[in-house]
Symmetry: C2
Subunit: 315 residues, 2 copies
């Protein structure tokens, strides 16, 4: 478990670079203010992929956005924001720009990509080659994929995420695109059935998973179960609002935030009628394994093991 | 499986009492019309408990209500309707009375019990002691329990269900009361948490289960998971509209109808934070087993085994 607890502590421990009495203890989680003033020396970033269920806190504790900021390098972070999912990209992009500037990022850039053509722009590619964090905003996941999929810009992001040079975050539509198979839309309030959902191809950054967001908030269990019935070789991950599944490179995810992350694991499924029924017929699926995870809980997407949050001595 | 497939066939097989050519094949499932005309001799009823998710078809195929009718004795059935959950008991009661009379029941009685005092009425108790089927309508499950719980009338029903003398059905509120623990109300659209639901004590006819109805239709997965987190010694059963879990005395249930029956089985749960968190904090629960069952699927509530609907040779 220690590598997961280390998330908040590993990056730029202030005690190494300043006298303890200088640290402003009110900036509890990361000592952000003091870091941004005092620490400008490069350090290794421990990259991750943050898959956020939408509506993350942008005003108060901002726990999830601060975690992204920290994993992107904290005061050394060079953050690139891609608002292409949104129909109001400059408004939403500027909002995130201000947030990460307020936190003390070294550099924040808004790549207002509205057309696939722009993915070839040399200055955009240069930004993606140098940054330490990429943030995908919410909006429409089909729009986001339509602009980014199979572009040079996306190739740079993918390669740098894989090689651990970049921390990537996506919220809402930006989360939906993470899997190879993507839930593009759908409904609720019905027995699980294929007509409940529209599937499309995502950006495939974590191909093993199918993500659904605003999960319990919008009652999406039925459509995630339907998606997994059709794709039992994947892992269903439903993420509530203001909640994040933070994926480490080693396969562990940890839950951060206010709600829950629901894992729908079909490894042991013995039967589904999915191949045999019509699109609006009720789907059956037997022997799903279901985990409802909360803040601090961990799950390994390859081993399919779950670890509860540890009750620490200091709590 | 044969004992489950036998549901539609065991009762009053027309071929035993009339020449095959007399059977009207258009009355496919039970040959109801011909039975009601020709078969008035008593026969053993194979009793069951039908837990119906509400909004069952009352006009066309009426598959669930016909199954109840058959299991209550078909043309020999003496059916007693208890509409006490409803605030319009005579309207809803009369509707079911007409339905079962139309099907050809030998006798249908409406026990319009509105006060606990009425549960002592000799003629009501006499009806419950002689009937072959009891039907609990929808309405408000707290109202139904408030009127029936711990009364002599309820005692008669319970004893006769246990000893296999009575087929019992409940729809909607009438289904919610079946367990010992009852979901009395609640919400959706949140991470599972205790404040999502109000629990109360049900009528305990199948004490091992916690029932939720209108299940996927009203997005109730979150509240059923919450209920099971608080009561991991029970089995969660979520029943969609126009769908029925038909419980045999031996522990098997079979699904009948248009939607799905969702089983939330906590047998293998390794962890829940339920004892440690506040009422509105998100609940965690690890290693639930989840089955989404459809028409013809079976599940054994003691063995916790699931059997898919058989693809019959005749199909």
């Amino acid at each position: 478990m220690f590598h997961l607890h280390a998330i908040y502590h590993k990056q730029g421990n202030p005690s190494k670079v300043m006298a303890p009495e200088v640290v402003d203890r009110r900036n509890t989680m990361l000592g952000l203010k003091t870091q941004s003033l005092e620490m400008r020396t490069p350090k290794a970033t421990k990259t991750a992929v943050l898959v956020i269920g939408g509506a993350e806190d942008k005003l108060h504790g901002r726990k999830i956005l601060k975690t992204f900021f920290a994993r992107a390098g904290a005061s050394d972070a060079y953050i690139t924001i891609i608002p292409s999912a949104s129909r109001e990209p400059s408004a939403i992009g500027n909002r995130y720009t201000r947030i990460f500037e307020d936190m003390g990022a070294n550099r924040v850039e808004l790549l207002d990509i509205r057309e696939r053509e722009q993915c070839k722009y040399r200055e955009y590619q240069s930004s993606l080659e140098s940054c330490t964090g990429v943030f995908l905003t919410g909006g429409d996941q089909l729009r986001l994929c339509g602009i980014l999929a199979d572009t040079d810009a996306m190739g740079i992001i993918r390669q740098r995420v894989r090689s651990g040079q970049l921390t990537l975050a996506g919220t809402s539509a930006g989360a939906a695109v993470m899997g190879h198979h993507m839930i593009a839309g759908g409904g609720s309030g019905e027995s699980p059935n294929r007509s409940l959902l529209d599937m499309a191809t995502g950006l495939g950054l974590i191909p093993e998973i199918i993500v659904d967001q605003h999960f319990h908030n919008r009652n999406r269990m039925g459509r995630l179960i339907s998606a997994i019935s059709s794709h039992p070789d994947r892992l269903g991950i439903g993420i509530d609002e203001d909640t994040c599944a933070l994926f480490e490179k080693d396969g562990w995810l940890q839950v951060i935030g206010k709600g829950s992350v629901t894992i729908v694991d079909p490894t042991e499924v013995t039967h589904t009628n999915e191949p045999h029924v019509g699109a609006s017929d009720p789907l059956t699926i037997h022997n799903l394994r279901l985990h409802v995870l909360g803040h601090g809980d961990c799950f390994h997407i390859y081993q399919r093991t779950v670890l509860p949050a540890v009750y620490r001595l200091s709590n």
